[in-house]
């Protein structure tokens, strides 16, 4: 129960952070495009996005502190291990977070108060901070799936499975191969010896270098960042589709321009995401065969219906995945039943994973359809397409959360793959009054986070936003006029 709440809290934090990374990246991109293409509407869009997104920080900070607090109280075993050996990502993230806070606020408050080039520089620094921050947090998560020393153990040609194996470095520099069972035994009988081995292994890789050298580090990071940008793009398209119907004709052009550029960005980023997704799945196939077995549902005696059971589509999908993962359609998937029972991930991720893939492909296809109407037919999308777009903000979040669930649930029963189980990482003991209070607070914060997401979408689509910007411009013009008349009077 406590763990579930903790995980849910982190998920709400992730939903909000996606907008933080995505909206700012889109805003800065639009500002650059506005300057290059001399497009006033892009500039207006960038400004309105920065106006709305500034509050995300505050809410992100609240849910982030909640996640931090949850880790400290609910996952002490895990946090201690991370603190001792894998602290580097969190440590570097502090500086990235600092850069984020500084430059995002500077970018927001300096609109029209500094030169365009300097303003873009501030924006690029802000996005740089956000992306570095994302890199570090995702790296910490990647270390949980691909801990140092991890080896490829599965043989796809024969289908032979072995439990997760690692090569550790002893303090004297010799290499020591250990599998997960041996690691568990060592942690139980001689934790000091295990800590020495882990310390020497981390030191060999370099305390900071380990962040980037882990298999899956770069692909996981890129996948997460592009996911955040895509989530924001689809959300904005949905919001603009909602607005375009309701505004007067003279304002429609603004939303049309917005939709066009967002559709182009959406197609580009979706394609990139597909390519990155392939490389990421490849790493899962090589290093986490247990997860792949559950994702593909390779269990003939478990009584589940898998995608392979679907006529025509099933065999094609299976062959394609085998080819992409192992370079041969004759390769074997790891068998779910070969995995020791206590280390099998839940099979539910087969459904979660394929629902995600199916939904993302549909969303991509719908983008192509919109592009056909907007660019080829040079007309607004038909009403049924526009109505379909209204579902984008929710659909894309489902895709994103299902992706996250596949990654997290697919690692179970491990918190750190092959090293630390959930049972050892989490707090045990009776539920005290304090925990009940904390749970209540959690529920309140989560509700607040969810309410905020709704508010945020409303605000993005509110009439007032553009009016506020126009009003601000008018005020500035008035001040200038009165300044001029005072100057004239004085002269």
């Amino acid at each position: 129960m406590l763990r579930a709440f903790s995980e849910f809290g982190i998920t709400v934090h992730w939903i909000i952070l996606q907008y933080s990374i995505g909206i700012w990246t889109i805003a800065v991109t639009l500002e650059i495009l506005a300057r290059v293409k001399k497009q006033e509407n892009y500039l207006k869009m960038a400004r309105s996005l920065s106006k709305v997104a500034i509050i995300i920080f505050a809410v992100g900070a609240a849910t982030g502190t909640m996640a931090e607090f949850g880790l400290l109280l609910f996952w002490p075993g895990f946090l201690e291990l991370v603190g001792i050996f894998f602290f580097a990502p969190l440590y570097i993230e502090v500086f990235a977070f600092f850069a984020e806070v500084i430059f995002v606020y500077l970018y927001h408050y300096t609109w029209k108060k500094v030169g365009p080039k300097f303003h873009i520089f501030l924006g690029v620094m802000a996005v740089g901070g956000l992306i570095l921050s994302g890199l570090m947090i995702v790296s910490a998560n990647t270390l949980m799936s691909f801990p140092p020393g991890i080896q490829e153990t599965y043989n796809p040609t024969t289908g032979e499975y072995q439990s997760p194996s690692y090569i550790y470095t002893a303090p004297n520099g010799t290499e020591i191969p250990l599998n997960s069972t041996q690691i568990q035994n060592m942690i139980e009988s001689d934790p000091e010896q295990y800590n020495e081995l882990l310390e020497a292994t981390v030191m060999k890789e370099g305390v900071i270098g380990i962040v980037f050298k882990t298999p899956g580090a770069i692909t996981s990071f890129m996948h997460a960042i592009v996911a955040a940008i895509l989530t924001s793009i689809f959300t904005l398209i949905g919001v603009y589709a909602h607005r375009i119907k309701r505004v007067k004709e003279e304002k429609k052009e603004y939303y049309r321009d917005g939709m066009k550029i967002l559709v182009i960005l959406g197609i580009i980023y979706s394609t990139i995401q597909g390519i990155i997704g392939h490389f990421m799945a490849d790493e899962v196939a090589r290093f986490n065969p247990e997860k792949l077995a559950a994702m593909e549902g390779t269990c003939t005696v478990c009584g589940i219906i898998t995608i392979s059971d679907i006529p025509i589509l099933g065999p094609i999908t299976e062959a394609t995945v085998k080819f992409l993962a192992y370079g041969s359609i004759d390769a074997f998937f790891p068998s779910y039943m070969d995995i020791p029972e206590e280390y099998r991930p839940p099979l539910i991720i087969h459904y979660i994973y394929y629902t995600k893939i199916g939904m993302m492909m549909s969303l991509f296809a719908s983008l192509l359809l919109i592009a056909y109407f907007l660019f080829y037919k040079k007309q607004d999308t038909p009403e049924w397409v526009r109505k379909g777009m209204l579902g984008y903000p929710v659909s894309i979040q489902v895709v994103s959360i299902f992706g996250w669930m596949t990654r997290e649930i697919g690692r179970k029963p491990w918190t750190i793959f092959g090293v630390l189980t959930v049972e050892d990482a989490a707090r045990d003991g009776p539920v005290s009054t304090g925990i009940i209070i904390l749970l209540t607070v959690y529920i309140l914060v989560i509700s607040f986070g969810l309410w905020f997401i709704v508010w945020f979408l409303n605000r993005l689509s509110s009439d007032e936003l553009l009016d506020e910007i126009e009003e601000e411009d008018m005020k500035i013009a008035d001040t200038e006029k009165s300044d001029k008349s005072i100057e004239e009077e004085n002269t």
């Binding site: 602290f87 430059f103 108060k113 030169g115 370099g206 904390l438």
Partner: protein, 400 residues
């Protein structure tokens, strides 16, 4: 203390003391906003309302900064003293829990007040502001339980298994003087910083309301500063009874015969000197110049008003640095407890892996430019440029 240990401690101390100063200023600003709203209600002066709204921006900025420095402190402590962090997380569960609740409550109120400012009527604004200020004061008290626990872990019955007497935890004997020191100190610093801001503004253009505020802030700040001095001394002498090790390190050769580990008497002495200077400057300003009305064209008065804010902020920051650094070598000052579990509570028990030059130098290289950028942001916000008119040379996209 080896070089890397020094780097580690400097990093944690710098971020933590910045956090305490920022959040102290933020809470006091919320009380100032409340004062302005009450003044507006009594006199109907719209200027007070306008100024109060401006302060909401300062509040949101100091809140965000305080939050950042808190995260940095937590992560640095996790990196260098992971076991200590887990131990205190378990021991101080209730204070941490309520700090967390207060933090979120205040965040929600900041958002409501700032974004709903023009939608609320005067009564609603006042009620929110009262709740906001109250939560701030409670928050400070809760925070002091953490610092007091580090002075002397009153209420910690045993560490294995962890047994805590929560009542004693909240009634630590060093809490009250510490609380008064923080409230009066942060109060004086905040008001003197406002004096610094308004003096700068008034030098450029005349404004009757700002002039009035400047004098009020100067006088109230002065009295708070007067209260801060005995509170600080009371706190230091409460340490003599309850945390002698820390007391001796802190006052060093000034008041004690010997310092058990490092003599920080020099730092204490500098603080005393700065306090005397600040007291002299404020006394002259309040009793000589303010009576006749401040004249900013008089260079002596102008510079006196301008140095007050930075000097008081330095004093406050130094007091907190001294308070933390005097613990050395203990993270929780309890020699008898440390004898049993030295790895948990001593500063020398730095995480071996993290205690390497790469890690500390990374911090210095990354933190220095960022801190400069942070100061620019603070200057931009507090000098009122965030609300200033646009750059006349600015060109829209179509004009380019």
């Amino acid at each position: 203390m080896v070089a890397a240990d020094f780097g580690v401690m400097a990093l944690i101390l710098a971020t933590f003391s910045m956090h305490v100063v920022m959040f102290g200023i933020e809470v006091i600003l919320s009380l100032v906003v409340l004062g302005l709203l009450i003044y507006n209600r009594k006199t109907g002066d719209e200027n007070a309302l306008k100024v109060a709204y401006d302060y909401m921006l300062y509040i949101s900025m100091t809140y965000a900064s305080a939050h950042f420095f808190l995260t940095a402190t937590t992560v640095f402590t996790l990196t260098f003293y992971p076991t200590f962090l887990i131990l205190t997380g378990q021991a101080l569960f209730y204070p941490l829990l309520w700090i967390f609740v207060a933090l979120l409550f205040r965040l929600a109120l900041i958002a409501w007040l700032y974004y709903g400012w023009f939608d609320f009527d005067a009564t609603k604004r006042l009620v929110f502001s009262i709740l906001f200020s109250l939560a701030g004061v409670v928050w400070i008290y809760l925070y002091m339980t953490l610092l007091a626990f580090m002075n002397t872990p009153d209420g910690l019955v045993s560490t294995d298994p962890m047994v805590i007497d929560n009542v004693r935890l909240f009634l630590n004997p060093t809490i009250l003087p510490l609380l008064l020191t923080v409230v009066f100190g942060a109060g004086a610093v905040t008001l003197f910083i406002l004096v610094f801001i308004y003096t700068g503004k008034l030098k450029k253009e005349e404004n009757e309301f700002y002039s009035k505020l400047n004098v009020i802030y100067l006088k109230v700040g002065y009295y708070l500063f007067l209260l801060f001095i005995p509170s600080l001394l009371a706190y230091i002498f409460s340490l003599r009874t309850h945390s002698e090790h820390k007391f001796k390190n802190m006052v060093g050769w000034v008041f004690a015969q010997d310092a058990p580990t490092v003599d920080f008497g020099w730092m204490f002495f500098i603080i005393l000197l700065l306090v005397v200077v600040a007291l002299a400057v404020t006394s002259i300003l309040v009793f000589k110049y303010a009576k006749e009305g401040l004249d900013l064209n008089d260079k002596v008065q102008y510079y006196m008003l301008m140095i007050l804010g930075p000097v008081s902020a330095i004093i406050f920051e130094m007091v907190f640095l001294l308070n933390l650094i005097s613990q050395n070598p203990y993270l929780i000052v309890a020699p008898e407890l440390a004898a049993d579990v030295p790895a948990i509570v001593t500063t020398t028990a730095v995480n071996d892996i993290a205690n390497v030059t790469d890690v500390t130098s990374l911090a210095i290289f990354a933190m220095t430019p960022l801190f400069l950028a942070f100061l620019s942001l603070m200057y931009f916000i507090f000098s009122g440029r965030a609300h200033a008119k646009e750059d006349p040379n600015f060109k829209s996209a179509a004009q380019l």
